[in-house]
């Protein structure tokens, strides 16, 4: 029993892994139909909630398992809760769509579950091998999910594109990791950190080249410019609930992994990695702002929007301070709520059996369905960063540490980019409220309405200290444990 309890910090992951295997059996030995799929979907949500409860119940300390390959600290717990929330809501969003398209297979929630385990391993990684293992477990499941809609050419294209480019980025990451291993002699973050902090580290070119290659691989995963090319195509081609999932949980995990790797494996090399983050951040913000303007497909627009938001979040990381890390975490939490709410609205854009993805088709939504138009408008305002909505506070939390750290150009470009970006968010609001109404959408299902309502509540309530405060202080505790 006591041996078992030593693995207590890994219980959430173990629970999910066992659940995934059980559900797989359950699905395989039942009829292969929508009912089984939906049942397994609800079970997967229940398993994620249980795992979340286990994480909340864990004592707030730092534990390391498996010879330092797996670390559980406040940062990991914070990120894992975000990841579990994102995954569970993504499954919740998918029931109606998948059933309508005949895609509600039991493998769908199981793949999301396995991918979630990979993400949780990513944010707990403190060894190059566990970093890569988590990343691959996550990505491999995502490739399959993207291509899930086999009859749809775009879905297959998006799966293949994601797979090839994801494989390329994994190759870059592995090349970087092999250099880091070769020039430090260990895959453990703690040993790498010791060498990175020693005086000779700045002259250790192999280590720095390895670091840069690893950053390239990770930038692919968070779809930061200049490694963002896959994002719009994959977002557009994948089935919409899968896109909602892509925009939520994996982003959190990849950001978490990046922060974990930079914070605990490469302290002392800030000067080197900050340049990279600095450039990637500016490029992402600007591309996110400009490239989204011409988009007519709302999923493509959200892809560019997510690129821009990754840029904003990286501003906090570029500051390289604990406050900056806290800002990134707050930003991620708020972005998660906003993006899930927005995708709930996108999934509600449906006429009969047809999913609508054209932004023009939103015209006059305010006259047809005022509550939905209101929710979507508020989410757009929040994504644009208009006070007093949560999206505004998110930007404050990342820009302020950057200003404090003296990164004025970064903060100024960030503000300019968010003003430019506001144009396309506001355009959607304008189309919904001031254009001639088009045909009505189908009635909104309960699941989507619940997610929309929760998201709306969150973006308004964040400004209230009693509600936003716990998130901010949890992010602070998480940032403290990250040693950034």
């Amino acid at each position: 029993m006591s041996t078992l309890m030593t693995y207590a910090p890994a219980f959430p992951e173990l629970l999910l892994a066992v659940a995934a295997l059980l559900f797989l059996m359950l699905g395989a030995f039942n009829d292969d139909n929508d009912k089984t799929g939906a049942f397994v979907g609800w079970l997967a949500i229940a398993a994620m909630i249980a795992a979340g409860a286990l994480i909340v119940l864990q004592p707030a300390d730092t534990k390391s398992l498996f010879n330092g390959a797996f670390v559980v600290d406040q940062f990991a717990r914070f990120m894992k809760l975000l990841i579990l929330g994102g995954s569970a809501v993504a499954i919740l969003l998918s029931f109606d769509y998948l059933t309508a398209k005949g895609l509600m297979k039991f493998e769908y929630p199981i793949l999301i579950l396995l991918s979630t385990i990979g993400m949780m391993m990513m944010v707990s990684a403190s060894d190059l091998i566990s970093l890569y293992m988590g990343l691959e477990l996550q990505s491999l499941a995502l490739y399959v999910l993207a291509a899930m809609h086999r009859e749809n050419v775009r879905s297959s294209e998006s799966g293949l594109k994601y797979f090839v480019l994801g494989g390329l980025s994994s190759g870059m990451l592995l090349y970087g990791a092999s250099l880091v291993y070769g020039f430090t002699g260990s895959t453990e973050f703690s040993v790498i950190a010791n060498i990175a902090q020693s005086g000779t580290a700045a002259g250790n070119i192999g280590l720095i080249v390895g670091l840069v290659f690893m950053l390239v691989g990770l930038a692919f995963k968070i779809s930061a410019v200049p490694f963002h090319m896959w994002t719009p195509d994959v977002y557009q081609g994948a089935p919409t609930p899968v896109t909602a999932f892509f925009a939520a949980a994996p982003k959190m995990a990849a950001m978490g992994l990046m922060m974990r790797a930079l914070g605990s494996a490469f302290p002392g090399l800030e000067a080197q990695w900050q340049q990279v983050i600095w450039f990637v951040s500016i490029a992402s913000m600007l591309l996110g702002a400009f490239a989204a303007i011409g988009q007519n497909n709302i999923k493509r627009l959200m892809a560019y929007s997510s690129i821009g938001h990754v840029g904003f979040a990286l501003v906090g990381l570029a500051a390289g301070t604990q406050e900056g890390a806290q800002g990134v975490l707050v930003y991620l939490a708020i972005y998660l709520a906003m993006t899930l709410g927005t995708f709930a609205c996108i999934l509600a854009m449906q006429r009969g059996q047809d999913m609508i993805e054209d932004i023009d088709q939103l015209a006059g939504l305010a006259q047809n369905n005022l509550p939905m138009a209101f929710v979507l408008a508020m989410l757009m305002f929040s994504l644009a960063g208009i006070p007093p909505l949560a999206g505004f506070w998110a930007k404050v939390y990342v820009f302020w540490p950057a200003v404090k750290a003296g990164l004025y150009p970064l903060a100024i470009i960030g503000v300019v980019a968010s003003v430019i970006g506001a144009y396309y968010y506001l355009r959607i609001v304008k189309i919904m409220f001031f254009d001639e109404p088009k045909e009505k959408f189908a009635p909104i299902s309960t699941n989507l309405a619940v997610v929309m309502g929760a998201s709306l509540f969150f973006i308004f309530a964040f400004a209230i200290p009693q509600l936003g405060g716990p998130i901010v202080s949890a992010a602070e505790a998480a940032a403290k444990s990250l040693r950034l």
Partner: protein, 212 residues
Amino acid sequence: MIAAIFFYLFAILSVISAVMVISARNPVHAVLFLILTFFNAAGLFVLLSAEFLALLLIIVYVGAVAVLFLFVVMMLDVDFAELKAGFIKNAPVGALIGGVVLIELVALFIAHGFEIGASGAVQTAVPSTGSGLDNTTALGLVLYTKYVYFFQAAGLILLVAMIGAIVLTLRHKEGVKRQSIPAQVARNPKTAIEVIQVPSGGAILPTAEGKG
């Protein structure tokens, strides 16, 4: 001395064959060059006295993966000429970027040398344990103990690969005749045999059930 000669032999051959993998005109030749690359890499492992890994590389990669590639290449009707055309169109840009990165890397390593970090990297694939363990035993000792986490994670990754392959390829087509064992077992002479009186000079047309 001999080790060094063999190192350069294997290293140069593996680089050349790797280049040939992407430049060979015939895709089957490309896969064969890939196999050659794996063989040379296995040779390098032997030089590092990691004979277990070397054999594993040959069995897994040469035996299974490369042959699988070969099948895929032969079965898929990919128009390689067209792919090549696209490649040649973009080749100058690719070559430029590749060249710049190569020059940067070479310049960096020439300027700074291959300094090993403070702790010093492991010089051989299997550090001598002093107790005369061969490296299969040494791997076995850590694989299920120290590295159990990675081992299990790899298991989950393979599970995802399996689920993915099934999800993306298995389809239950309507109208396909499948073997149904219960139906076969439940067959008895009464249901299987039909006695028909053939009128002399007449013919029997197949019934709607299509039994014959």
